[in-house]
């Protein structure tokens, strides 16, 4: 059933004909924040209440697109004259490059990647342009934690527009088991005509998405993530598809790419993804991970347990176990402290 939903969501098949299936499909899409993508993939099919629902989603995602486009413009304005050309990551890049992966996508913040040695200058220029440390991570512990261990600056929020920006200088934390070669990916990045900013090459976009989803994220938005992978993979030229595995090896991201190819092949029935996966030979996607993912996608009684497994896995992949324990302890302690302070203050 869920596989049929994924295929309908990207327009591989028509929307479910049966009214009950259609209603379940729409509720699933709304819950997983992909209604905008569904609406973008099914422009002509709607009538009656279905039309209302899809139109509503389209207006919502048009706003997100406008917001992202303007934020990209503001970033390039803030960096004007500095010679810094950040790489727009994820949704920001998909929208700026006019990709299918960006159509109808719900987004709330923007991610950029800059060279390590220009990080400090970037931060200063963004601050001058009105971005400030976000209050949720303004505490000393968080600031130190980010700066010492993470792959990005603490998130910054714009003072008047209230939008969030994540400034990355690498793709995963220094502590992660996986250390992708972001330097090679930056070197192969392409200039975006619309903004003066850059984006990864099509191949590297898929690889980065795979890293983000399969090695970094906790699979909190499975449907959205898999749809993104499906579109990015589908947009690769035949030549890129042939070179994908070599590139993944080169930038040290074989494992997440294998997981991503499995998802595209399993949920969307992509023969090309299946072929690419086969060509990886000994590389196999872990049986346990595949099982856990299927449970999460299917939902139901076991899903929370599977989610927890993915959460632990994602944190485990970011940092060695002893450090993880320390981090979780600090977080828990800090929360407790804040809660007490609030109660006594209120």
């Amino acid at each position: 059933m869920k596989r049929a939903f994924f295929r309908a969501a990207v327009g591989l098949t028509a929307l479910p004909e049966n009214q009950l299936d259609l209603s379940r499909f729409l509720r699933w899409a709304a819950h997983d924040h992909i209604l905008g993508q569904v609406a973008a993939a099914h422009v002509d099919e709607a009538g009656g209440k279905l039309k209302d629902v899809l139109e509503n989603a389209r207006i919502r995602s048009a706003h997100d697109r406008r917001m992202l486009t303007f934020e990209a413009d503001r970033i390039s304005r803030a960096l004007l004259g500095s010679g810094i050309e950040p790489v727009l990551l994820k949704g920001g890049a998909y929208v700026a490059a006019g990709l299918r992966a960006g159509r109808g996508r719900r987004v709330s913040d923007i991610d950029i990647l800059v060279e390590d040695q220009r990080l400090a200058e970037t931060e200063v220029l963004l601050r001058e342009a009105g971005w400030q440390g976000d209050s949720s991570t303004a505490g000393d512990y968080d600031q130190q934690y980010y700066r010492r261990w993470m792959h990005e600056l603490p998130p910054m929020r714009h003072g008047t527009r209230r939008t969030l920006i994540d400034v990355h200088h690498r793709l995963l934390p220094r502590t992660a088991r996986l250390q992708p070669r972001h330097d090679l990916m930056m070197a192969a990045s392409v200039k975006l005509e619309s903004t003066g900013l850059r984006a990864f090459s099509p191949m590297d976009r898929f690889i980065h998405s795979a890293i983000h989803i399969c090695a970094d994220g906790a699979f909190e938005t499975v449907a959205r993530s898999f749809i993104e992978l499906y579109y990015l993979f589908g947009d690769l030229e035949a030549d890129d598809r042939r070179r994908l595995i070599d590139r993944a090896a080169e930038v040290n991201a074989l494992k997440p790419v294998a997981s991503a190819l499995w998802a595209v092949s399993h949920y969307f029935g992509s023969a090309n993804a299946h072929a690419a996966l086969r060509s990886m030979g000994v590389m196999k996607v872990g049986v346990a991970l595949r099982f856990i993912l299927r449970v999460v996608v299917r939902g139901g009684r076991l899903a929370p347990v599977a989610r927890l497994a993915l959460y632990v896995r994602s944190h485990y992949m970011r940092m060695p176990l002893a450090m993880l324990a320390k981090h979780l302890f600090s977080k828990a302690f800090k929360r407790g402290g804040q809660a007490r302070a609030t109660r006594s203050g209120g």
Binding site: A30, D52, I59, A62
Partner: protein, 309 residues
């Protein structure tokens, strides 16, 4: 199934459908799938929404889904609590279970305010006569709902107590006639002129004080697809015992105040700007101050006459 009025259904049937999440309310421009195990929600819904149309099936395509229930299993049984869950993360405060009607109405407001983008929503009560509308802007202590309920008695139909719902393509308002929310002293006032049957039982000790709801009338519900042209925008100021007074408000200021309170103006984008500006082209805007309900109704009626509506 075809839609039927809630009042034609047995309470037990409505309760079963609500518990199963198979009750869809079709009101004005929105369809909402409701789910609740609370008998108090059922009782309230059967009473205050008795003239509204519903379908009882799970395959309905709806704009919104809303669950009203215990925040967790424990709170369904021990010191029971109730909270609206519009299907997305929202930090709503759990209420004691007897405040179920408040949780339902808050939830209905949330679903539309945060998920509707097909229309531009403003925070205002709306009533109309001959399809010419008066918008009564909300601000704290203003008396929006009391005035809205009072205008209903003066021969105006209710479009909405909570939202002025503006079309994106042309400056007309869409009805969404849900119960009017009354607080504290205004409950007695409205009950006195609308009658006991029109007002729900009172909820004491809510975060907003004592609350009761005034039902939308059958005629209001029957006109739920009939748009109205906004002619008059009122910013009400109630101060007990005060002499009535009227001040004209510059449309530019009024627009700024109305837009500032809109939950979705920014998201809707250019169409929201164009439609809002077009609305203000032919909108008279006034602040009124008054010390009792009769004065406020008289002031609004006079201003409404002046618009030539």
């Amino acid at each position: 199934m075809t839609a039927v009025r809630v009042g034609t259904l047995a309470t037990r049937r409505v309760g079963a459908a609500l518990a199963a999440g198979r009750l869809n309310l079709h009101l004005g421009p929105f369809s909402t799938a409701l789910q609740s195990h609370s008998a108090k929600v059922t009782r309230y819904f059967c009473d205050l929404y008795r003239d509204c149309l519903v379908t009882l099936n799970e395959d309905e395509i709806v704009d919104y889904t809303l669950r009203v229930g215990a925040p967790n299993l424990l709170r369904r049984f021990v010191r029971p609590q109730i909270v609206p869950d519009p299907g997305f993360h929202f930090p709503a405060l759990p209420l004691p279970a007897h405040m179920a009607p408040l949780a339902l109405e808050m939830g209905m407001n949330l679903t539309a305010a945060l998920q509707c983008f097909r229309f531009v929503m403003f925070h205002a009560g709306v009533v109309a006569k001959n399809d010419n509308a008066v918008m009564i802007a909300a601000h704290s202590g203003g008396g929006k709902s009391t005035l809205t309920a009072a205008m209903m008695e003066a021969g105006y139909r209710l479009l909405s107590d909570e939202f002025a719902i503006l079309h994106r393509s042309r400056p007309v308002l869409q009805p969404y006639p849900r119960p009017v929310s009354l607080k504290n002293a205004s409950i007695d006032v409205v009950q006195a002129f609308a009658g006991n049957d029109a007002v729900s039982t009172r909820l004491e000790g809510t975060p907003k004080g004592t609350i009761a709801y005034r039902r939308a009338r059958r005629a209001d519900v029957e006109a739920m697809n009939q748009v109205a042209v906004p002619k008059l925008l009122i910013f009400p100021h109630f101060t007990d015992g005060r002499q009535p007074g009227v001040t004209q408000v510059e449309p530019a200021d009024a627009a700024m105040r109305l837009v500032a309170g809109s939950p979705n103006y920014q998201v809707v984008g250019e169409a929201a700007f164009e439609s809002t500006m077009a609305m203000f082209d032919s909108l008279a805007c006034y602040e009124i101050s008054y010390g009792n309900t009769e004065d406020s109704v008289r002031l609004v009626e006079d201003l409404f006459q002046e618009t030539g509506a």
